[in-house]
Amino acid sequence: MSRIVRTAADIIYPFILIFGLYVVAHGHLTPGGGFQGGAVIATGGALVIVAYSYVEVREWLSGKVLMGQEVIGLVGFIGVALLALAFGQVFFFNYLNASGSLFGIPVPYGINAGELNTGGFVPLMNFSVGCEVWGGLTLVILYMLSGLEKEGC
């Protein structure tokens, strides 16, 4: 693509990244969550990938890193769920909820602006799913681009 498209993609990409991470991190309070935030981040990645040629993209992005991101997300999701068995509870039991540790304070009563430090392991699930969707959808775009033989168009 042209220089204008590349410069615009470079400028816009950090803002899309921050917004997607915001949607992921506030998944248990506001609309959105892991899947939506990951899809937003992957859209920003797709913008950069479409703006540059495949040879340039492969210098910064490798499929192995994205696939590792997917593996980390999936293993994190099932690992956090399985950790409940170690505490003597059933599968997917929310052992972090109101425990006082990470994301563990009780939900405040009444109408409030939303406390980020609540929800138990639901934010951890959101981070896992966001990581997985980020890697997976970017990988789709990258493999789609790898079919292009000619460069610089």
């Binding site: 949607v23 609309p31 959105g32 969550g33 899947f35 939506q36 899809a39 937003v40 992957a42 859209t43 797709a46 913008l47 990938i49 479409v50 959808l137 789709v140 775009i141 789609m144 681009l145 079919g147 292009l148 168009c153």
Partner: protein
């Protein structure tokens, strides 16, 4: 009645962009019309108070699908029936 005006406008825009997607022979323009369709339907989801679905639709439909179509157009031909 007054709160239904945005819905009517969005639905009219949906119909117009769908018809444009069908009639464009320039495939890049047709892809952008399909992206406009996705954006408008995500706006409609937001009006119908489903912001969750609206975020998904805007990211997947208007973003990723358009990007995949643009990559496919770059790999093949820009006009309909060019490389067949």
């Amino acid at each position: 009645m007054i709160e239904q005006i945005p819905q009517i406008l969005v639905l009219l825009g949906l119909i117009v962009s769908a018809i444009l997607t069908y009639y464009f022979k320039d495939l890049l323009a047709a892809t952008l019309a399909a992206g406009l369709f996705s954006f408008l339907i995500s706006l409609e989801f937001y009006i119908l108070q489903a912001p969750d679905v609206a975020i998904s639709q805007a990211a997947i439909g208007a973003g990723l699908t358009t990007a995949i179509f643009i990559i496919a157009i770059r790999a093949t031909g820009r006009f309909e029936g060019e490389n067949s």
